[in-house]
């Protein structure tokens, strides 16, 4: 009897459900306790539907648990050590009797079950004598009775049922009955506390997982990696056979499989079948839990690769559905219902999903930011180049003007001297040299001045084809002299653009001059004006000598010339002018033509907007957006 009193104090100090059960059962079977032959503990499950065998003890356990009480006799203050040393938490899992007990289960409303009846009525059900119907298979599993079942009641009603057998004739003597009743009360409270602790620990563990996962998820900014991570993490923490994420895309929020984990060949057929459910989940923004095909017919029949159970939760961030997260085929473990997701799992996955949804939204925003940043950097680089070139232009213009006047005088006098000399005079050749060199200097100055003029555009609605034709007139003579054919092509009906025609002519001229510098007799220059997407393009190609790679790189850099007598500004100027029109020059080598310059002007950016009054323009833009 002393053991019974000690048990009550010991129970208050225990939080582990296994230890509580061990202490309880050992008191029921030990000689110093109530000395039954057998004892079994049933616990009512979370959803209060079933009583499941949790643990049982018999002859073997009587010896094993004896050490616990002995140890406590000697070291009464060291309960936790005694539990750790003698109430081995794995005992329950290894004990054959306990294993048999764990296979027992009975539904609470089973009318034939004395265990269920004890739990339902809150009264002792006894005796269950030999030969009595044995619906739970207790006698078969745990041995002959007669058994009696005692409801274990906590503050929130019945928590479980204790079954005892052997040792006494029925009805039980009062000396046993009274302490047993007392014991069930204490057991009820302790079991309730133990389960609360167990839930708490599970919740803490889950929260820790969520936190860890969230940290991982929130720090991932690459959308593809993130979606894969979400699938992997979900399947792991949910102990699911597979996991999948669908991403909602476009204005219709169409679901697309974004990542999956644990599915063979990307889960093709299975995911097709799940799509309607995922769409339902996304549309209603409610999670969906299906246990089996038989349950409601929404899932295809079980077998050959069909899911036993699925759990789908919507991914919602900032009141927008970003997708659906799904897991399926829970892996069976000893303490879980086989392959079924439960309400707690649904809640847990929902928490995970809310974090994941925010992370997905973050990653999407981050990608937009990254894109914007990239554009900004490009613009900045362009701006810097523009500014540098403008400063360079200003400076060179100043120098050019200062030099031009004295240069004209020098050259002019040199011509006079040359004219005054007879052709056979040795100085005549020298004077000619001076004249030629000054002419070359003057040509460079002219190019420089064109470069300086860049900052002042004069825009007009311009027919690009006409500009091309006018420019070709300027070079045709030179081309004929060189024996080079110019092939001209144009697409009919091209729209006019708001351009600076003089400068565009300059661009074409510079590139054509460049081409004429690269060809020899018999080569061809091909000029085509057409429309490609939202751009008008002028392609200027030639089949002369191909450009070496290092020249290609510095093609548009000012003063990086390879042409004898070139200023190195021609293509830099061309590039600058085209950039100012919002267009670009691309250089291609190889193929049918050895070098192709493709100049494109975006049609939309080069329209005359002044003709449209501001309010009307707004309306037009809105219509365009729609």
């Amino acid at each position: 009897m002393s053991l019974l009193f000690r048990l009550t104090t010991v129970l208050h100090g225990l939080t582990d459900l296994g230890a509580i059960s061990s202490a309880l059962l050992s008191t029921l079977i030990s000689e110093q306790g109530l000395a039954f032959d057998r004892a079994v503990l049933f616990l009512l499950d979370d959803e209060k539907k079933r009583l499941r065998g949790y643990d049982a003890a018999g002859e073997r356990e009587r010896a094993l648990t004896l050490d616990f009480w002995r140890l406590l006799d000697h070291f009464p203050e060291s309960l936790s050590d005694a539990v750790r040393l003698t109430l081995d938490p794995r005992r329950r899992l290894r004990s054959p009797l306990s294993k048999k007990a764990r296979r027992l289960a009975v539904t609470l409303d089973d009318p034939d079950s004395p265990v269920a009846e004890a739990a339902r009525s809150g009264r002792v059900v006894c005796p269950v004598v030999q030969g009595h119907p044995d619906p739970e298979g207790i006698v078969q599993a745990l041995g002959h009775g007669p058994w009696s079942f005692w409801p274990v009641t906590g503050t929130r009603g019945v928590a479980g049922v204790i079954g005892v057998a052997g040792g006494y004739a029925h009805p039980l003597p009062d000396t046993v009955r009274a302490p047993l009743v007392m014991l069930t009360h204490h057991a009820g409270l302790s079991l309730e506390r133990g389960r609360a602790y167990q839930d708490l620990e599970r919740q803490i563990a889950e929260m820790a997982t969520v936190q860890e996962v969230s940290r991982g998820i929130l720090s991932a900014t690459n959308l593809v990696d993130l979606l894969l991570l979400i699938s992997r993490v979900s399947s792991r923490v949910m102990e699911a056979g597979w996991a999948v994420t669908w991403a909602a895309e476009g204005p219709e929020e169409t679901l697309r499989v974004a990542s999956s984990c644990g599915l063979e060949d990307e889960g093709g057929a299975l995911l097709d079948r799940l799509r309607p459910l995922a769409e339902k989940c996304s549309g209603t923004r409610r999670s969906l839990r299906r246990t089996d095909a038989a349950a409601d017919g929404t899932l295809p029949a079980r077998g050959d690769g069909n899911p036993r159970s699925i759990l789908l939760v919507p991914l919602v961030a900032f009141d927008r559905t970003v997708g659906v997260l799904g897991v399926g085929d829970r892996e069976t473990s000893a303490d879980r219902d086989a392959g079924v997701f439960r309400e707690a799992d649904e809640q847990f996955l929902s928490i995970l999903a809310s974090q994941a949804a925010i992370a997905i939204k973050n990653a999407q925003l981050f990608e937009q930011v990254r894109e914007a940043e990239k554009r900004l950097r490009e613009t900045q680089a362009l701006l810097m180049q523009t500014e540098k070139l403008a400063a360079l232009g200003e400076m060179s213009a100043k120098v050019a003007h200062e030099i031009r006047t004295p240069l004209s005088a020098v050259g002019g006098f040199a011509r006079r001297i040359r004219r005054s000399l007879a052709d056979d005079d040795p100085n005549a050749e020298h004077a000619t040299l001076i004249v030629k060199e000054i002419q070359r200097l003057e040509e460079i100055l002219t190019e420089q001045l064109e470069f300086a003029r860049l900052s002042r555009p004069r825009l007009a609605m311009t027919n690009l084809v006409e500009v091309v034709r006018e420019t070709l007139l300027l070079v045709r003579e030179e081309a004929e002299r060189q024996g080079v054919a110019i092939i001209e092509e144009e697409e009919p009906g091209l729209p006019s653009l708001l351009l600076d025609p003089d400068r565009v002519k300059q661009v074409l001229l510079n590139i054509l001059k460049n081409a004429l510098g690269a060809v020899v007799r018999g080569n061809r220059i091909f000029v085509r004006t057409d429309r490609a997407g939202g751009d008008l393009r002028v392609e200027i190609s030639n089949d002369g000598a191909p450009l070496p790679g290092e020249i290609l790189e510095s093609l548009f850099v000012p003063f990086a010339t390879t042409k004898a007598g070139g200023s190195g500004l021609g293509l830099a100027v061309a590039h600058q002018i085209v950039k100012e029109h919002g267009g670009e020059i691309q250089v291609r080598t190889g193929g049918a033509w050895s070098v192709s310059f493709v100049i494109s002007f975006p049609i939309r950016e080069n329209q005359d907007r002044r003709r449209v009054p501001p309010d009307r323009r707004k309306g037009r833009d809105r219509r365009r957006a729609a």
């Binding site: 006047t405 004295p406 005088a409 006098f413 011509r415 003057e442 001045l449």
Partner: protein, 122 residues
């Protein structure tokens, strides 16, 4: 012999123009500022003027405006190191615009053409 007024502030170039146009048979007078040019136009107006734009004081476009007002019969050819003035509105009313160059053939050609037009007009 057509009379020609050269307005050019650079002494060397002025000398070059003087010699070249004189050789071609013009009666050449050369001055170095806008003010001197206006004075000359008042006292002995030439048939044609070769006019630099960037001058020390009064600039070439001012001189051009005054000529158009007071002596519209005089032919004016602007001669500048700046190609950009070619697009300036004021320049359009001149008879020609030649960017400075050591090769005087374009300038000479333009002056001759301007004078020829004047003769036809008269």
């Amino acid at each position: 012999m057509p009379s020609l007024l050269i307005v050019e502030d650079d002494a060397s170039l002025r000398k070059l123009y003087e010699s070249e146009f004189a050789e071609d048979g013009y009666v050449v007078t050369a001055v170095s500022s806008g003010e001197e040019a206006m004075e000359r136009l008042r006292t002995a107006p030439p048939e044609a003027v070769v006019l630099d734009i960037r001058l020390g004081g009064m600039d070439g476009l001012d001189v051009l405006r005054r000529i158009l007002q007071d002596k519209p019969e005089v032919a004016v050819v602007l001669n500048s190191a700046y190609p950009s003035y070619k697009q300036s509105f004021a320049s359009w009313s001149a008879d020609g615009y030649v960017v400075k160059s050591s090769d005087l053939s374009e300038l000479k050609h333009t002056v001759a053409a301007a004078l020829a037009r004047r003769c036809h007009a008269v």
